[in-house]
Symmetry: C2
Subunit: 198 residues, 2 copies
Amino acid sequence: MSEVTGGRRRRRRSDAERSAAAVLDAAVQVLGRHPDAKVEQIAAAAGVARQTVYAHYPSRPLLVAAVLDRITAEAVAALEAADVDGGTATEALLRWLDVAWRLFDRYALLLHPSVTAIDKADSDRQHAGVIAPLERLIRRGQAAGEFDGALSPAWLVSATIALGHAAGGEVAAGRMTTAQAAEALRHGILRVYGARES
Amino acid sequence: MSEVTGGRRRRRRSDAERSAAAVLDAAVQVLGRHPDAKVEQIAAAAGVARQTVYAHYPSRPLLVAAVLDRITAEAVAALEAADVDGGTATEALLRWLDVAWRLFDRYALLLHPSVTAIDKADSDRQHAGVIAPLERLIRRGQAAGEFDGALSPAWLVSATIALGHAAGGEVAAGRMTTAQAAEALRHGILRVYGARES
DNA sequence: GTTATCTCTGACACCTGTGTCCAAGTTAGC
DNA sequence: GCTAACTTGGACACAGGTGTCAGAGATAAC
């Protein structure tokens, strides 16, 4: 967006830009936490009429795609900042967990079945940015003898996400505090990986 | 069902009985695997018109409740047969896993969010029959020093279900065979519990 | 201050799924 | 073979959500 105005005089007004941004921001928040939210609710959160949403995003699926784009970019940036490829694999794993925990907490959408495979391209991009670093990390740890090398990296990735899910569920259900859940998660994952207790 | 005909002559015809049973059987199968299945599909699976479903079950939620009743009863029976309270806690855990794995595989409905808390009573019954034995088992193993006593039983239950979910997902995604997944699941759970490798 | 752009209100068509009603046909029970 | 019970097809009302359209008013851009 914000193209170089190439055609004839098509004035893209500033309030249109703001509206579109407000809608996207609201959609990121609302859909992030409630993946099944209706267009109406997103519009309300954006302080805008429902039709205005459609003025900027042709359909709900396309809006979801835009949201996913945004979130994925944020996730990739956050994970890159965590320097997953530096230090001990175990330390890196704990950093990855810390970042990913926060991300999945904020954006339940990332794990939502309705989104897991909208589009092959989206799915791949998401995988490349979020999952691949973890898998790389796992292989590194296995090669270094830090993690059990007999376990398939793909399985460990799944197990990691599943345990994260469970930990999040405990918090949501009020059975654990965020801190307790995070600790239990770290602990459990290290064990599954066959890493020595830290 | 099959009451003693107490009132005046209200002939409950045998084909009505058969229809109701066919609907329930079909619903168990279809809803078990596809919790979001529509009434239309259930009727089709039962070889019956949609209206006939409503003739025996007033509404979809009530049908789901009946299905859940049936499934829960089956689950409880299967878990009782596994003798979770006998032998080593570790051995008993493996038996529980084996049975529960098959159950959750057949009846995805049991884990479906839309069903997790229809009714307090249903939820409690399900919990009492399926979850409680596992929690009892966990406490026993912790008391015996077989499992890590520092972990909260509720968390271990959640983690167990989550890993089971993940293992099922790997099978569904074609990344693992059922046997591989079951093995990985056993392995991972024992580690999370802090049990010695068997 | 003119003008094209944008937003809003309100209405509408459309779709899917649920649940109901009825009239006609079938079938079990006696 | 009568009769009440049951099933069925067709039609319908209803609810919730999506997407579209048109017109009236606001407002940014020039």
